[in-house]
Structures are given as C-alpha cells and as structure tokens.
C-alpha cells in the first residue's frame, strides 16, 4: 500500500512538513518580520550605535517573541476549519503525540530559522560579536518553549476567528520567563560574563514545556471541538 507506515502522528507531521514545503516561499515570512521589526527600532529610537547595542538583546528577543507568536496562530486553525481536526482527534494515535508533532514541525519551520538569522538581525543593531554564540544558542533553546507555549494558546483560540490579538494577550505574559533568561544570557555574554546557567534554565523550561504543553493543548483542542 502507498499508505503511511509509521504511527499517525508521524503521518501528521509529514503532512505538515509537506504543506510547509509547498509554501516554502512563506517560510521566509517570520524572518522578514524579525528583520522589519528590528529595523523599526533605529527608526523610532534613533541611530546611535551605543544605545542600539545596549538595547539589542532585548529588541531581538522581543521581535523573536512576536514573530513566533504570529506564526503560531495558524498552528491548529486550518485543521479546525476544514474538519481535519475532527479526524485527528478520532484517529487511533493519542492526541498528545499529535499535538507534540505539530508543535515540533512548527518549531522546525519557524523557531529554528528565526534562531539562525537572529545573529544577523542583532548585528544590524550593533550587538558585539562576542555575544553572538549566546544569542544563537539561547534562541535555539528558547524558541522551543515559545513554540510549545504558543501552541497552547493556538489550541485554546482555535475555534474563534479573532486574529492574533487575543492569542497575544493569552500567550505573551507566559513568554516572560523565556524573554528574561534569553536576553539575560545575551547581555551577560556581551559583558564578557558566563552565560551557561541561563542556558541551562532555558533548557529546563523547554523540558517542562515538552512534557506539559501538549497535554494542555490536547485538552484545549477537545474542548473547542465539543462546542
């Protein structure tokens, strides 16, 4: 048979990747968003390099937060709208695994590329080169949590056609710890201090999110279907 051979969650992940590949032109959107938001700051704040370099860690992280948030919005929405979600919930695979698979794909197509270009964006804001490794690694770990926590919000609002605003209200406050430790790591590196403890804490967040977020998202999806 030409049917998938793995478990259902693998098939779901494969389809999401296929759709993402179909629309690979869109893959650049979070990146461009990051760039534009970062570029707005010199315009709004003024072009003085020292000042920009001081606020760079915070600005890049806030921009990454927003980019990740905005791309989360559609995580479950389209499956809900066309009835796929009903089929997914009824499939023999546990919803926990499916939700986790979808969040993982989301990280792969948004969080991961965002992390990879963040050093470029930070460079535009005069972040010292010494801080770049810290930025890259804290982003790679932090965006995992962002995708997972954002997935909870996407699942909660999946049945509502309210755009990204409501989602932001629910999720941005929950992003605070990642923002704090992410920008702290970069700041520390920029001042030549060690930044490994921050990274370890970000890793802890990611682990916690991996275990708990799919549970919450699965519950939220079921609730939204049963309305």
């Amino acid at each position: 048979m030409s049917a998938g051979t793995g478990p259902a969650w693998l098939e779901i992940a494969r389809r999401d990747l296929l759709i993402a590949f179909r629309r690979r032109a869109e893959a650049a959107n979070p990146l461009v968003f990051l760039l534009i938001v970062a570029a707005l700051f010199p315009l709004g704040v003024g072009p003085a390099p020292q000042e920009l370099s001081r606020i760079a860690p915070g600005v890049v992280w806030v921009a990454a937060l927003l980019a990740s948030l905005l791309s989360t919005d559609m995580l479950f929405r389209s499956d809900f709208d066309d009835g796929s979600l009903e089929q997914i919930v009824r499939s023999p695979s546990p919803l926990y695994a499916t939700a986790l698979a979808k969040m993982a794909v989301h990280w792969l197509v948004s969080g991961c590329p965002i992390s990879l270009v963040s050093p470029v964006v930070a460079g535009l804001l005069y972040l010292p080169a010494a801080a770049m490794p810290a930025l890259l690694f804290s982003m790679l770990l932090g965006t995992v949590t962002l995708s997972l926590v954002g997935g909870i919000g996407a699942a909660l609002t999946v049945g509502l056609r309210k755009g990204g605003l409501l989602l932001s209200l629910l999720i941005l406050p929950l992003y605070v710890p990642v923002l704090v430790f992410g920008s702290a790591a970069v700041d520390a590196a920029a001042h030549g201090l060690p930044w490994h403890s921050e990274l370890a804490i970000l890793g802890g967040f990611a682990l916690l999110a991996v275990t708990l977020a799919p549970l919450a998202a699965a519950a939220a999806l079921r609730i939204n279907l049963d309305s």
Partner: protein, 209 residues
Amino acid sequence: MPLFEACDLRCERDERVLFEGLSFTLAPGEIVQILGPNGAGKTTLLRAVAGLSTRVSGEMYWNGAALPGSRWEFLRETLYLGHDAAVKPGLTPFENLRWHAGLWGRTTSIGIEGALGAVGLARHRDTPAQHLSAGQRRRIALARLLLSPARFWILDEPFTAIDLEGVSQVESLVAAHAAAGGVVLLTTHHRLSLDCRFRQVALESGALA
C-alpha cells in the same frame, strides 16, 4: 448481538430539548437513517455517536461494551464524515487521501489511485484541491469510504454538492457496505433509494414551529 447500541439518549440545547428517550440498535448489515427537519438535532446526534461531543447524555455500547470505556476499539472501527470534509485546499486529492490513510495506518486493497478513479477524480489526481469545484472537493472525502476498513460508517449529509450520478454511486457503496456486514448511520435530506432495506429513526422536534 447488535454491533452498536444507543440507549435513552437525550440532548438539550439552549434550554430546549432536542431529543429525549432516543434508543436504537445497529446489528451487522443494518442501515439507519436519522430523519428530522432543519435544526432537529441530527448533526448533534451524529457527532455524539462519533465521540466528538459530550453534549448528549445516555448510554452507548459498541460490541456490548459501554462506550467511553471501550473508546479506542470503537474509534478504530468507525469512520465519520461530517459537514466539513477534512480536505486540505493546498494539497492534491492524492496527498489528501494518503494523509487520511496514514492516519488510520491501514487501507483496503483498492489503493489510493483506485479510490480516486472510482470517484471520478483520476485526472485531477495532482490538482490542488482549492482548484476543484465544491462537488469535486466533496468527492475526495467520499473516496475515504472506499479506502477505510472501518465497519461503522457515520455519514452526515454525504450527498452535499454531489451530482446525481455521484449520489447513486454513493448509495450503492452504502448498500454494499451493509451487505458485507458493516453498519451505517446517516442523515440526508435526499430521498434515499437503496437496493436494500434500511430503517429510519425520526427526531421529533418543534424546531420548525
């Protein structure tokens, strides 16, 4: 022994009782059509049977086992086709069906290509679904009937947007499924013309005043 049994189902929405004391059974080979005017509660009932809604109280049994308990065996054996067709606009008919088959992990021997041919979409195999007409998109969903090995079909208005030839084709599919020992629960506002016997259960409702 009936394959599926529903006892004393009851549903209230917005302080209005949609149905009450509703019981029916489905022995192997049986087809039940739920009848009722618009707003009678047919979709509500079918979603509850499919395990998607908890708004309906009462007991349901699959193969003699009470339902929320034996949920997994039940889900593995049922196919639900709702108002929304679960067809991704960005994917081709072939990719859509491959996904559905993968979700179940197993298919019948007809294969995806065969199913597409049977519903008349062979030549649109690689056209993204968003470039298809309403009826063609619906046909992709109907191809799942051919592919799924499920014994219990739950079909909510399967004939929406389907042309006359397609309707009679689906009707013969339903009859053949029952003849092979499967069970079918469906709603439609079409006048069914099946080659076999089928029962009708009416939802009494004052919805239309």
